[in-house]
């Protein structure tokens, strides 16, 4: 716990560097990644991330040291080259984009690993730590690295801000963008360059293998919470930053631990939480809504049942036992009990001496369901020419979703009919 306080207090200037660096690069890759996500080019980020490795290694071999400026330049060149090759393969062969990405990703990564092994065998004293590019090591961000990477991060954010309108348009409707004369190819080049730069500065902290997660996962998680682009970008940045800080903390307390996997785990947890719990788009919300619908259907069916029994006897408000209900229509016991007490709570049923009885409100509601059922049956036979013996099952569902507006339209359209296709009386509220 103490470590957390020391970490958060930023007393150690080194911590300050690491945290600032990680947060900035997490934010910039989340924002840039949001646009590749919206363009449905998520895998491109992965290809670039893997393709920068040979560049980093070559830069090291040629310069002989780990100066971040050289490494960034090297990474940029091979990362960019990989995208150009992917584009060319797609344009000039039968190979589709997903295959081209797979091919290039593995070739470049393989080459990178080969070069890295060569460097490690060469015994160059300065090479130690180069392998942190594979899985990331946020704590290795020091002094000049942080200044270089943070500057690039801020630059990326400025470019996105300047091109916000243009990047949004080419992600939404490329043909329209071309039709109004926007330089779409050059704008795509801007986005590609931004992606490569985001990867290049991210690899020190996250590593090439998992860098794609920093581009795509924050955007994918943020999309669950909002339908507004600007809010989505802010959320993606926030999620990225949280993951970045957590990764930096892990790297700070346990320097032997690679940072990348931790950052990716945390951002993935955020994505999972979004997936399950986000309002309106989350799985949980959808399940709750489904259950609510099921309950409404069951309750309306119970009231309908009371009404049907009453209709047969000409006495709607007579108290009835559960046994009577079950004899007419099979209902699961637990669901029936829950439904009955819910309907009592809402004032549609009364209960005394072990017997259940419709209230006037309950009778109206049951009657409306029956009415809608029969109107719908009639509508199907008249307007869709469906045989009378085929309309019941459909009406069983539709009776629960027709709104009062549709109800009055239906009544007018059918001219307030007296009976349904089975000659059952259609009950209107008097």
């Amino acid at each position: 716990m103490n470590e957390l306080f020391t970490f958060l207090s930023f007393e150690d200037p080194n911590t300050r560097y690491v945290v600032t660096g990680t947060v900035l690069l997490a934010i910039s890759s989340a924002i840039v990644g949001s646009f590749t996500f919206l363009k449905k080019k998520a895998l491109v980020g992965d290809a670039v991330a893997h393709a920068v490795l040979p560049g980093v290694c070559l830069a090291f071999i040629l310069s002989g040291n780990k100066n971040p400026v050289y490494l960034v330049v090297g990474a940029f060149i091979t990362g960019w080259l990989s995208l150009v090759i992917i584009d060319q393969i797609v344009a000039h062969s039968r190979i589709k984009e997903d295959t081209a990405i797979g091919l290039i990703l593995s070739v470049f990564f393989g080459l990178g690993i080969m070069l890295m092994t060569t460097i490690q065998r060469s015994g160059n004293a300065a090479q130690s730590g180069l392998d942190s590019f594979l899985f990331g090591k946020a704590a290795a961000l020091v002094g000049t690295d942080v200044i270089v990477f943070s500057t690039i991060s801020i630059l990326l954010l400025i470019v996105v801000f300047l091109f916000f309108k243009e990047l949004t348009l080419i992600a939404f409707d490329e043909d329209f963008a071309k039709s109004i004369g926007f330089p779409v190819r050059r704008l795509e080049l801007v986005l590609t360059t931004l992606t490569v730069m985001a990867v290049v500065i991210g690899i020190q902290a996250v590593g090439v293998v998992l860098m794609a997660a920093m581009l795509i996962t924050p955007a994918a998680a943020a999309r669950f919470w909002t339908d507004r682009l600007k809010v989505m970008l802010l959320l993606a940045a926030l999620f990225g930053a949280v993951a970045g800080i957590s990764g930096a903390f892990v790297s700070y307390t346990a320097p032997a631990m690679p940072t990348g996997p931790w950052i990716v785990m945390i951002i993935s947890v955020i994505a999972m939480v979004s997936f399950f719990f986000a309002p309106s788009k989350g799985i949980l919300y959808k399940m709750v809504r489904q259950r609510r619908i099921q309950k409404t259907i069951r309750d309306e069916n119970i009231l309908k049942l009371f009404y049907q029994l009453g209709e047969a006897e000409g006495d709607y408000l007579r108290p009835r036992s559960k046994q009577e209900l079950v004899e007419r229509r099979e209902l699961a016991k637990g669901q029936l009990n829950a439904g009955l007490s819910r309907l009592k709570r809402h004032g549609f049923l009364k209960f005394h001496n072990g017997q259940w009885q419709l209230t006037p409100e309950g009778k109206n509601k049951g009657q409306r369901t029956i009415k809608l059922h029969r109107l719908w049956e009639l509508y199907l036979t008249q307007y869709l020419r469906i045989a009378p013996d085929h309309v019941h099952d459909d009406a069983e569902t539709i009776e629960h979703i027709i709104t009062p507006e549709l109800e009055s339209k239906l009544e007018k359209l059918l001219e307030y009919p007296d009976v349904d296709p089975h000659m059952s009386k259609i009950p209107y509220q008097s």
């Binding site: 449905k40 949004t168 939404f172 043909d175 039709s179 109004i180 926007f182 682009l229």
Partner: protein, 264 residues
């Protein structure tokens, strides 16, 4: 029957377009007079969308050129508006109706500049013309097919152009929307704007359009509806592809031949 006009707003000259060397449009020559309401008709795969896409410079031309207002597209972009097929974009994109309609102003704004008050007002006016003002803050994913099409049309209206190309604006929309759109297009045409529509429903051609382009890989007819929309030309348009032409097309594809000796 191909009727040419003097001082056309649109001229398509010797246009050939190929996908993978196989021509989908073959030697198209046509001219359209100002203020026409034009329907492009023809069977599936006849090259209707390809024709307007090539006029909009969205696909490379195999041969020929197109001119708008007697100039190349780049010189008159601000007077030209294009409405892609509704299905060509992802309606789940995080954007509101306002965001999409404002895109119609981007051409006049140019790069880097943000929409200003006047642009917002133009967008609202355009939305009003398609009766969608109340939906201005609605997310586009929540719109019906007809409403999506109205939003696309509003974006085009916000461009305040003089010639409009619409790719199947009536596909999959409700009757009320179809009625609203055609009324609007008629009004635009009366105001002297030229409207060119890729259309599918032969029933409505005569009531909707005063000029018809009939396509089936080659141009079968282009002229006033009353003169070209007849049984004989419809038969020719919909009576299948010319077998010999298709076979030559297939040969070009198979041998990867250029369709002009001088083509790159």
């Amino acid at each position: 029957m191909i009727q040419q006009v003097d001082n056309p707003v649109l001229e398509v000259h010797d246009l050939t377009v190929s996908y993978d060397k196989k021509p989908v449009l073959w030697g198209i020559d046509l001219t359209i007079p100002k203020g026409s309401l034009v329907g492009i008709i023809g069977p599936n795969g006849a090259g209707k969308s390809t024709l307007i896409k090539s006029i909009m410079g969205l696909i490379p031309l195999g041969s020929g050129y197109t001119e708008l207002f007697g100039a190349s597209l780049d010189q008159v972009r601000n007077k030209v508006s294009y409405v892609p097929q509704r299905g060509s974009v992802d309606w789940d994109f995080p954007a509101s109706v306002r965001d999409v309609v404002l895109m119609g102003r981007y051409g006049k704004l140019g790069l880097f500049r943000r929409p200003k008050k006047a642009d917002h007002e133009a967008a609202m006016t355009a939305l009003g013309q398609v009766s969608m003002e109340l939906y201005v803050n609605r997310q586009i994913s929540q719109l019906s097919g007809g409403q999506q099409q109205r939003v696309f049309l509003a974006r085009a209206l916000a461009q305040q152009a003089d010639i409009y190309f619409l790719d199947e604006p009536f596909a999959g929309v409700d009757a009320a929307t179809e009625e609203a759109i055609i009324t609007l297009l008629r009004k635009m045409s009366e105001e002297g704007k030229t409207v060119i529509v890729v259309h599918h429903d032969l029933q409505s051609v005569e009531t909707y359009f005063n000029w018809v382009i009939m396509l089936n890989t080659r141009l079968v007819a282009s002229g006033p509806t009353s003169e070209v929309f007849n049984q004989r030309l419809l038969q020719e348009t919909y009576g299948g592809k010319l077998t010999l032409l298709s076979e030559v097309g297939n040969l070009l594809k198979k041998g990867q031949f250029p369709n002009r000796e001088t083509a790159p």
